[in-house]
Symmetry: C2
Subunit: 383 residues, 2 copies
Amino acid sequence: MQNSPDKSSGVYQENSYLFSNYAILAARLNRFRRTYNRYSQMSKTRPSLKDIAKELNISVTTVSFVLNGKGREKKISKEVIERIEKYIESINYKPNPIARSLRTGRSGILVFMVEDISNYFFAKLARIMEDLGYKHDYKMIFCSTENNDRRSKELIHLFRERQVDGFFLIPSSGIEKEVKNLIRQQVPVVLFDRYFPGLETNQVMIDNGDAAFSATEHLINQGYKSPAFITTDVKQTQMTERLEGYEKALKKYGLTPNILKIPFSEIHSAAGKELIATFLSNNPETDSMFFATNYLTQSGLEVIKYKFPGWLDSNGVLTFDDNDLFRINTPSITAIAQPLEEIGKHLMSMMMTLVNSSKPSEVAIQQQCLKAELIQRESTQRH
Amino acid sequence: MQNSPDKSSGVYQENSYLFSNYAILAARLNRFRRTYNRYSQMSKTRPSLKDIAKELNISVTTVSFVLNGKGREKKISKEVIERIEKYIESINYKPNPIARSLRTGRSGILVFMVEDISNYFFAKLARIMEDLGYKHDYKMIFCSTENNDRRSKELIHLFRERQVDGFFLIPSSGIEKEVKNLIRQQVPVVLFDRYFPGLETNQVMIDNGDAAFSATEHLINQGYKSPAFITTDVKQTQMTERLEGYEKALKKYGLTPNILKIPFSEIHSAAGKELIATFLSNNPETDSMFFATNYLTQSGLEVIKYKFPGWLDSNGVLTFDDNDLFRINTPSITAIAQPLEEIGKHLMSMMMTLVNSSKPSEVAIQQQCLKAELIQRESTQRH
DNA sequence: AAAATTAACTAAATCGATTTATTAAACTTT
DNA sequence: AAAGTTTAATAAATCGATTTAGTTAATTTT
């Protein structure tokens, strides 16, 4: 490429009587190159609509119409339709999704954005969504926000650019504006796990308050006099509602609440575990702990195991979010299980009504609030 | 759209002296519509290269060159480069990745295909890969194959069509041909977890045989006389190597192997657990069990907990793959931990050399075999 | 000073679809 | 039979980039 001027100028000198100037020669050379490239690419590339059209001696337009099932509508004759369909079938032609996206603005991709896909709850839900998505002919992209605003915003912009068709969002606290923007721009959005109290959005939640209330009541009914609530300092709905449920139950039975808030930044760290240990030492009257999320429970169990062995023999533990560990642990841990399958089903069905509408922001808003189930296990059995 | 003929024919009757025929009128109408559409779209769409070029009174080509940092190379003057860069910066222009993909054939997306993303091992690795990918400016797509050939093939074709730039693959047993095809077609592929013995591929593995041997030896050194090996009937390398490691150790110490193979289809089912229970009943001499994967261990622990309570007091358990459950469980479970971070690092670095090469199939094949670590815990402590 | 080269920039082709505008021929109306 | 409609199909614009093949003017070489 770089040396083509030299080459052609060499030729020019040899045949100067034939060519009036460099330009003509260069033009010839380039025409040849173009043809050459076309040929050499032919063998590599998958067939395009153009190839099919050429092969069948039919226009690209017609092939495209038939391909998209608009044959009848566009009054293409049955013979032509049949001929095209047969050929497309025979070479197993699949339209290039990128080209299609560029033209249509749709991509067939949905984004599932959560705090951390490696967390049991999110991973299981992701797996469910993956299958549901494929069932509706959508590909799924999963990503983790760490509940961090900057990261969430970046991810939204990133995928927005890629023309994804919709967002399943566990929003971090500071992205209300971004969510509003998406909706205004007619991008389908469904929130779950937590929401913005001031913003009417399509969402699938669970009744955190009710679940936390019943669970706390369960502890009290089991005879625990001093249940503590271990949570994070996150101020989002899923957390505040759980806290309120706990407080409401304590109030109902005239007990004194005892709450430990662990900074979100420390939930996976040793410092976080230290806080739980200190709390237990400083509050020896605590006869049961209600953990607000599964990762807190894991930290708690570790602390108990290594620093307060035997504590569980006479005291209780209860957790929000179930997982294999809690089922198998000894003692098995009483847990509030979110209805994963049901959440997934609702999420996907809301999304489908949105993506199938031409003005998603004008679709009547759908909000689901599902019940979580308390699974009673050994950890809250008073002997 | 459908009724435009009627409309225009109405106009035609009114002004018949002005227009010679329907066609001209239609043409006018359409020209108007086109202009109208252009205007009405302007406000909606993000700026394109064309818009920038128009704004700056510079050709699209020049803008594109500068955008891609080829300004110097293409001998664009410093003033123009600066002007373009400043403007691009000021409107925060980001090129449309779809259009770019269509032209370049690259997408900036890597696929991470595993058995089941909701499984702890895969989910944690996915999380690591997600961050590594973003660091290199790649988006990650995760998907689950269920170790099923048809599903794997479908997924490969699906993403191949979307021009993904590379595949991280845990291959199911019957897709050797597809993997070969990818490589032949210059698609970057890196295998992990398991491989095809007959196929030289870029891969990151762990030394399953060695790890299983050492782990078994550990059991024997702890005084267990009759360690059983609980595995699946999957015939892929990761499983056969683990089995061989176990057998080699038993042979070395002159012990009799005792192996339970659970059909892959039953690994998550009650029937699978039943098989373990039956095995334990029929082989009362078994004083320890070595589970070949984390999900088998979970089933095993559940069986022990509910059907053989107390069994763990005098017998041992050891597992391939670590997770939170095993650390926190009572007794905590001795586990072979794969070096997740290290696996991720190698996977990504191999992928980067592949995607940065113009002929990935000609890049010298890289194969890493990493050591797994045996984490000794309470479950194999002989008292 | 003619010829060749370089600097600086642009027109147009291209990627592979979708969709709008248009047309030629065959039918219907009036 | 002229005018209008319908049928069956197509040409060309478009989505938004990248990249090849030019072009013109200025500079350098011979």
